[in-house]
Amino acid sequence: MNALLHPEAGASVASGAAHARREAWRRALYRMRQSSLSMLGLALVVLLLVLAATGHWIAPFPDHITGSIDTAMRFKPPSWKNWMGTNELGQDVLSLVLGGARISLFAGLAVVLLAAAVGTVVGALAGYLGGWTDEVLMRLADLKLTLPGLILAMAVAAALGAGTVNMVIAISLGWWPGFARLVRGEVLGKREEVYVLAARALGAGPVRIMWRHILPNIVSPVIVKMSLDVGFAVLTVASLGFVGIGVKPPTPEWGQMLSTARGFLPDYWWAAIFPGGAIFLAVLSFNLLGDGLRDVLDPRSRR
């Protein structure tokens, strides 16, 4: 009936929602800009992601990324031709660092996404259903937490065999309990909110309560943890590469580059310093971004 009277009502409702959404984003960006360190983190993360995405095209020696070597050029120090020098196979270190960014960053992101997805599902089920489900799922998570993450990842990666996907799975396997615990705790808190009771009183079922009322209210801490965890996931990927599990050579990977170059320290320092610096920069920038996001998303820590 109302539609006949106001045929334009539906359209204005939709555009109003879009406007409100833009407004919310602008507000978040404004708050983020208040802290120069988190803006630096955001800028670095964006830069790293762009480099990782375009590395194969902008590298000065793209063929080195795919494994070709140049024995005449072994261990040349940094110069205008090779900004970061060359390694023991005569490969351009800058090209390898750029090529390795793709593996390291995207594997790190994939680990966190996978772990957050699994952890959220497990934590939400445990927190909402409680009782036996909670006990079983959380004891399983505790069991995972008793094993050192890196050892578990090494064992699983070794069992599954080399390859990026296997490595991501291996690391995620030890990573989800952290998310599960976080989400469970948050769900337990939100489950008791009055608006959840009110929604139930007006006929909402468990699925709607989870999706519309509980999960949207707990995304902030999950996003903050995700952004902080990416740095550590990158570090773990590099660690696996360092001990020789994970990505198969000749695919360049920061940890594995560092591991090889370690044997030629301190004389040929550039072959180790630059991949190491890349790992450092990636971890630092994701941590800065995570801290900034926490300030934006968590009203309690707002200064």
Binding site: S12, V194, L197, A198, A201, L202, A204, P216
Partner: protein, 340 residues
Amino acid sequence: MPLLHIRNLHLAMRSFEGEAHVLNGVELQVDKGEVWGLAGETGCGKSVTGLSVSRLVATPPARYMQGQILFDGQDVLAMDEAAMRPLRGRAISMIFQDPSTNLNPVLRVGDQIADVAYEIGRHAPEVLGLTAQAGSAERKRAARQLGVQMLERVGIADAARRANDYPHQFSGGMRQRVLIAMALVGQPRLLIADEPTTALDVTLQAQILQLLADLVKRSDTAVLMITHNLGVVAQICSHVAVMYAGHVVESGRTREVLHAPRHPYTRALLAALPRPGLARGQLANLPGRVPDLIHPPPGCRFAPRCARATSLCEKETPASVAVSDKHRVACVHLDAEAHP
């Protein structure tokens, strides 16, 4: 058949100290179109009674020991969650106390009310003006529109635009209006309002109460208004039930109960109402405190605080006696009082 008939409802709540007998034989009968006030002190079981009707009391820690809650002749205590869900929001609706915690802070107001309408439309498409064949996209659109219409009806200006706002952009009174709109979107037959105006300013209380009274009168909805404010009861309730320690001590038409109270507790409650004309220091209070529900006193639970209590009161729990058509009182001293 009454719309809602609570019969001898007993409920115990498990706690560290032991099992508390929170409801102790609640009797209540609500007919279509009646507005009942459920009055009493904090902790007397008003809210638990209200939540029980919608089956929203978690069991455990609560345990229903005895009694029935007949809604339309069906015992809701015997129903499971799946059977209960189509009733909620549609047949039995609720409004809670504090409007600042009742709305989901991260969902737009329009989405929240549309969600309720959508869910109700699944079981009752006629509420949305649709037939059973309507698809979910169609239902979504109709739910959205009905939501905006309801917001208009509860007096939200520029409702179509305000529907895109978040709850924090609304004032307390506006939020309570939104909650009323949400509760009434399914055209419920029974509305349970748990202290709907307690968190509001006095001037707003009257507005909201008036709005609520108008809306339910138009749709013939029965109301169970839970309150500790007898002023609210006098304003909008046609009937009132006074509860003490999990028991309805007096019930009947508001006029009869408030003008000619028969139970000592009702009298004490009325005497404790502050009035502007009262001299400083003259406000009566009721000595003593609500009894320990884990170890309730024997006999009448009000006896330890009652001025008229005799040894008889501690012997037996007084039965509820009809003193006139609908007026019922649970006190052993009724006869003595009727013929002083």
